[in-house]
Symmetry: C2
Subunit: 337 residues, 2 copies
DNA sequence: TGTTAGCACTCACATATCTCGACTGCTAAA
DNA sequence: TTTAGCAGTCGAGATATGTGAGTGCTAACA
């Protein structure tokens, strides 16, 4: 992939074809391109260009006497080399984004729904997996009936609690000692660092083993639970697009959207890329006829989550990228509330 | 509705027709019924019975020279008067249910998914709305940076916490006084009883107003949040059923499944009915060509949530009702863990 | 009165055939 | 390298036709 060596005219034709296809979802003929985008050359010229582009794998023909449609490769090229994000009217998008999101709280609560409403595509929100969240403080509070409450404060502000059982024979200062112990054992560690086998408990503190183990179990639960925090919204939006008049496409789409684990994996993205655009199926990724755009967000330098938009291959990349970008700005500014 | 006055033979024919349709999803002819279910009479007799049943609204004909299919009314009659739940092989179902649900914890975590896997229909789980949850205890704990943590313990064991801001000029015993105040104001109240306008704050305690209001806001949030706790799983299962070869049906199905508020309303059911079977569209309920079965569950006499199964009208009512029933037994027994 | 055989009738579905026209690829000339 | 011209392809839609499953009706029968 990634041959940048397309002549300007080929680029122009490719862009014309994709722009047109994104709107009408119909094979585009040489005549249509000439009329709308390239009046200065003849249809025959365009035809010969088209057949070259087809040979290069950018276009396909549903049948011999029809116009052409872009291939996945074409969309990828389009996003990488043709699409100009810089001229997005960010003011306008910003206004919409700001209007819809009253506060950062809102983003977490309704992020997927709102992004879906703005873009008109199915959207997802994934809260970052707990692995690299650091335990900032841990408290233990006496309750009743021989139970206590353990509170874990993390560096991204989330507080988790869990009721645990105390041993029967609690001495007066048991809670305070346990508190100190837990602080010593856990504060500063990341969630990922806490593992089952972990045993840094001194022999003499055997009395606290039960508590200690309950806390570890709790952290493990937390770890697993937050890995699953994926919200998908606006699934029904796909029916607005003619490619999903075909049940098989719907089915395939639903299959991607309902496999949470896979979807989480896709949303994680690769490495530290801020935006990730996946188009069509690649090895090990089954996104046939679909495109998935994901973005990673930070607040105060800390990764908080990913937002994704999924739709047909011919999605409005510009709009979606624009919205995701402005959402990033909103979160970064973080001014409201 | 609810004419029980069908002759035994009509009942038998109706049952035959529905049973057959549930399996094959194809219009049933008089000959087919005779062959499989009623060899003792002629097809002509069956035909005349069929046309009477059709006149009564139990059957429809896709076209004049085709067999008949059951109407929503027929399914309702079937569930109410024909289907015999008592002879469900509960031992077998219980085994499956028990095998899949390793513990009660599992039910909350993966309930929808597992029910969907067992029944092979799309399933939902809704955690009971917070309204009639009672606040059992409330604690306030000093943190740092002029913030404190408020903990609310409810009678169903859930603990919620929220970080709140303290006023700048905190006196030594501020936290303790505030704690007593909050306890006095909230303990014993149900979530529903806490409302915004509420103001039982003495004039002299003006200093605590800010805290008080933050707690109220938090409870309100809690109220709204838990109303939303609905998990839908197995959406893609519908593609296993031929009626969803048609995109319009899929679309309609998705529309029902994605409108969470409406779905929550439907799952709440009416009054104190344990099981609720809704078939087809009724006034104000848009379930055209679909059936929704919901069940309400209690643990220790406290309502904890609802589980629902949604699918085509000709769903396997016996199986679904059996599974939901056994799930109830499992939760009631509550023996494991 | 209820049941049955017989028969005419209906209509979805599948298949075949045809036309139309939107495109293309190719060729030869500019 | 570009262009006009033209033959050729093929999907989509319209029309016609046969087939068979299944019904409603009627008249005879128990």
């Amino acid at each position: 992939m990634g041959e940048t060596n397309l002549t300007e005219r080929k680029k122009k034709i490719l862009k014309a074809l994709i722009d047109s296809y994104i709107n009408d979802v119909e094979p585009i003929s040489s005549a249509a391109i000439q009329k709308q985008y390239l009046p200065e050359v003849s249809t025959a010229t365009i035809r010969s260009e088209l057949s070259m582009l087809e040979e290069m794998g950018y276009l396909t023909q549903p049948h011999v006497s029809s116009g052409r449609i872009p291939s996945s490769k074409a969309y990828k090229y389009y996003v990488e080399h043709i699409l100009d994000i810089s001229d997005i009217d960010s003011a306008q998008i910003r206004e919409i984004v700001n209007e819809k999101f009253q506060s950062v709280q809102e983003v977490v609560k309704n992020g997927a729904k709102i992004v879906s409403d703005i873009t008109n595509y199915t959207s997802m929100l994934m809260i970052t997996s707990a692995d690299n969240i650091v335990i900032k403080d841990i408290k233990i509070i006496d309750m009743y009936d021989n139970t206590a409450l353990v509170l874990i404060v993390t560096d991204n502000g989330v507080i988790k609690n869990k009721q645990i059982d105390l041993p029967h024979d609690v001495k007066e200062n048991f809670i305070e000692v346990a508190g100190g112990l837990l602080r010593k054992a856990f504060v500063g560690k990341s969630i990922a660092e806490v593992t089952n086998g972990d045993d840094c408990l001194d022999k003499e503190l055997e009395a606290f083993r039960s508590i200690y183990e309950q806390v570890i179990a709790f952290v493990m639960d937390f770890k697993n639970a937050t890995e699953e925090q994926l919200y998908v919204e606006g699934t029904e939006k796909i029916f607005d697009y003619p490619e999903y008049k075909d049940v098989d496409n719907v089915r395939q789409f639903m299959s991607v959207v309902s496999h949470r684990e896979k979807l989480c994996g896709l949303m994680e993205g690769e490495g530290d890329i801020e935006y990730c655009v996946r188009i069509g199926s690649e090895d090990s990724v089954d996104l046939a006829n679909m495109a998935l755009i994901t973005a990673k967000y930070n607040i105060n330098g800390k990764e908080v989550g990913h937002v994704g938009v999924i739709g047909p291959e011919r999605m409005d990349y510009k709009k979606v990228l624009g919205v995701l970008k402005e959402l990033g700005v909103l979160l970064q500014d973080n001014k409201k509330e």
